[in-house]
Symmetry: C2
Subunit: 476 residues, 2 copies
């Protein structure tokens, strides 16, 4: 059995058993492990390093648009949940409840935040006095808990990490502008950093956030043609402002309710990039968020000078800001090649006695498997340029899939055929919940986003006049 | 009433009512607020920005010493707590317990981590196979919950943020080396970044971490002469390794238990720097961790060119990596001076029409109130140099207090007089728990650390032979 096959055989076939491929890959590359409590995950350091890179990129974007970080308590009085009618209906069934603290039964049970609109609303109500205090632009990096029956690492776990932005504004226009601005930041981030082009748009009433006036989402197409909701931005109108009495004294001397928004992305994004870019050999991590961007593998490592040259090269690359590492373990080069391919490192650099003598290195791209030689001089520039090419190519591949795999349907049968073929399907919709439910029932596809600027004549389901064009897909 | 007094009067007098001064300052400078659930806090953005700076500094030090970040589940099966006898005794009384999830009573109650030795021990047991896997050097940034009866923002709250390092090693020597290395990093960080010189040393059996073989702590002297435990590093021996079966196959072919450590600091450090450096006007935040290092106050802001000059200067300082801001609100300069003094910004820069004409700015240090003029040219270098001076001076002031306020005692009466005078007290101790308890009872002082390299003849309490010299103090 060839070395290659040993590794490929460790993971299920990506095209015939994608769910199993996913589980194999996330566990074997040590991104994640199962926690002791059912439905929980341990984010191992290789996975957490991706999250740190995501945080760094997003946090810079939030701060550049005037947001500041804060931290709100995780434990929320149960009664807060009930103040906004839709909110409690949506979240009460999935909360974890603390009933005992310090050895005593609590007078009022506390929920572990599933999201923080309620506790943050309570504080904004206290802090907000005058129109001069607006807008309030705050973000929080935190853990949240939602009790889930069926879980999968990164995609759906009872506890996960995320950021949640919560803002308050004087007018509907401003709040809506904020909602769309943050959706735009998520989209730009997904494309620039994760190399994932996304569909964005408004969600249907059925799919919106519990308590929002309108939810806007971004949807990413995965390897199997299913969709993953990768981020959402909610316009909350005055729903939470009324429930928590978030009011301000306006210029005209009257008290008014504020308009609020919330928006979030989570460790789910790690699942998204795995399922968007992986191949049969394992992960392919976009360079911008890769924990290791370039792995140096010394060839004939025991020959004099080889380990030193590898260490020199590593230092040179690191000094240029490249996340480089050298694998100096006892494993064979072939074993290392396969392991680092499985771990999705975008660039492999081989360096052996003959290369050193010739003053060169061998570079192998993870995405195309293309092998090139380059002088050791200017190594950092060469590596940086190649990493940019990998990043651009991953985006291009994902963009091509996203464009090629969208079909239209005029009947539910066509819609079914479309999603079964691994496509997103655009179809007319009358706007009624019954048709949306029926489509879900018959095709296992849900309305991902409402498509702006396109028109259809008839509803794909009931045949009545279409009010909107909707993008349907099966989803994670 | 002078402007100055309006502000000073907002906060209690630092010398006659320090506890009230503390509460006034943390609330009025908007570092923190009380959460809706008793004992919880909201870390507002001005406070959270200090935490972000602390995180950045510490995280770089952890990574430079080979540690990597990961994330472990917050919910821990109750039974895990009971596996290590001392651990459960210490922590069980203060845990928050989840008994309901997803609308159903849980089969086994879950505790919200008060600390993560147990859940991390369980994972290390699974991951650790061979001596080649050692050492394991992992850190986690997380929230923890400990049910507390008496709480105070930053100092003691039911939920707080911290980092907890958890490492596993092949030998006692290595684990002890790690324990002391991390204590050293904490000490260096406290002095370099927080401008707080600390006493470090081993804790007595009574004061050690529940489940540790030995705890080493760092103690910081506050404005009122009381001590604050600002960080701890624990040598856990094989206690948790045996409780959680953390074993490895050693070179000699036998299975051995690992030796583990844990170490942590928390948002308590924010309380430490407030109580170490504040004065009657409010906070004094050391420049290295200050959210705003230099605040620009335009004088005669409506005169042409003033706001532009302030904006230019801000941009110039920010470009040089200085956290500068300009207060362009409608408030009067006097009001701004006082507000930013209360908020502890290390440097104020005044710029008005005459300054602009003369190409200069006025600089006022928060620590010494010293006022100087400097050319606008090279502003960044000037400001950077002054910030370094402020940082050095704060450390020097704290160091002087730390040295001047340590006395020795040969009787419990002397010890009492010492701590009542706002001092730390060195005294001989026989090593028995009875004397330690009696001293606490009679003086309200506890053993902070055991002093290395010093000797005393008699125990301050029973008069028998002293085995150790102990540093006693009243503590937060």
């Amino acid at each position: 059995m060839a070395k290659d096959d040993q590794f490929v055989n460790q993971i299920a076939d990506i095209d015939t058993d994608f769910p199993r491929w996913y589980t194999d890959v996330v566990i074997k590359t040590q991104l994640v492990d199962y926690g002791p409590v059912k439905g929980t995950m341990v984010i191992r350091h290789y996975g957490y390093a991706i999250w740190e890179n995501i945080q760094k990129e997003l946090d810079a974007r939030f701060k550049a648009t005037g947001h500041q970080n804060a931290y709100f308590p995780m434990l929320i009085p149960y009664s807060f949940m009930t103040r906004e009618a839709e909110h409690v209906e949506g979240f009460a069934p999935e909360v974890a409840v603390v009933t005992v603290g310090g050895g005593e039964e609590l007078a009022e049970p506390l929920v572990i935040r599933p999201t923080s609109e309620t506790v943050i609303g309570e504080m904004y109500s206290k802090w907000l006095q005058s129109y001069r205090d607006l807008p309030i632009l705050i973000n929080q990096w935190a853990n949240v808990v939602r009790w889930e029956k069926t879980t999968r690492p990164f995609l759906r776990t009872s506890e996960f990490l995320w950021q949640e932005g919560h803002t308050a504004h004087a007018s509907e226009e401003e709040a809506m502008e904020e909602t769309m601005k943050m959706l735009g930041i998520y989209k730009e981030f997904a494309e620039t950093c994760l190399a994932i082009p996304v569909f964005t748009g408004r969600k249907t009433e059925k799919e919106k956030f519990a308590g929002a006036v309108a939810t806007f989402g971004m949807e990413a197409m995965m390897h199997d043609g299913k969709s993953l909701q990768a981020g959402t931005s909610h316009y909350l109108g005055q729903n939470f402002a009324k429930a928590f009495d978030i009011r301000f004294l306006d210029k005209d001397g009257t008290h008014k309710y504020a308009y609020t928004t919330s928006w979030g992305v989570s460790t789910r994004l790690i699942g998204a990039l795995i399922m968007a870019h992986g191949d049969k050999r394992g992960l392919i991590i976009p360079p911008v968020v890769a924990p290791v961007q370039a792995i140096i593998v010394p060839i004939a490592a025991k020959k004099p000078g080889v380990l030193e040259a590898a260490a020199d090269l590593k230092a040179k690359l690191q000094a240029a800001g490249i996340r480089a590492d050298a694998d100096v373990s006892d494993n064979s080069p072939g074993w290392k090649f396969n392991e680092w391919e499985m771990k999705g490192v975008p660039l492999r650099i081989e360096i052996g006695p003959r290369d050193i003598e010739a003053g060169k290195m061998v570079l192998v791209r993870r995405d195309t498997h293309e092998k090139t030689e380059a002088p050791l001089e200017n190594a950092a520039e060469t590596v940086q340029a190649l990493l940019s090419e990998v990043q651009a190519n991953l985006l291009e591949l994902a963009r091509r899939r996203k464009e090629e795999r969208v079909v239209t349907a005029e009947t539910v049968e066509e819609l079914l055929r479309g999603v079964e073929g691994g496509n997103f399907v655009k179809a007319g919709w009358c706007g009624c919940r019954e048709c949306e439910d029926k489509i879900k029932e018959q095709t296992a596809a849900s309305a991902r986003v409402i498509v702006e600027g396109e028109h259809a004549e008839k509803c794909v389901c009931c045949g009545k006049e279409a009010k909107q064009v909707v993008l349907f897909a099966r989803a994670y």
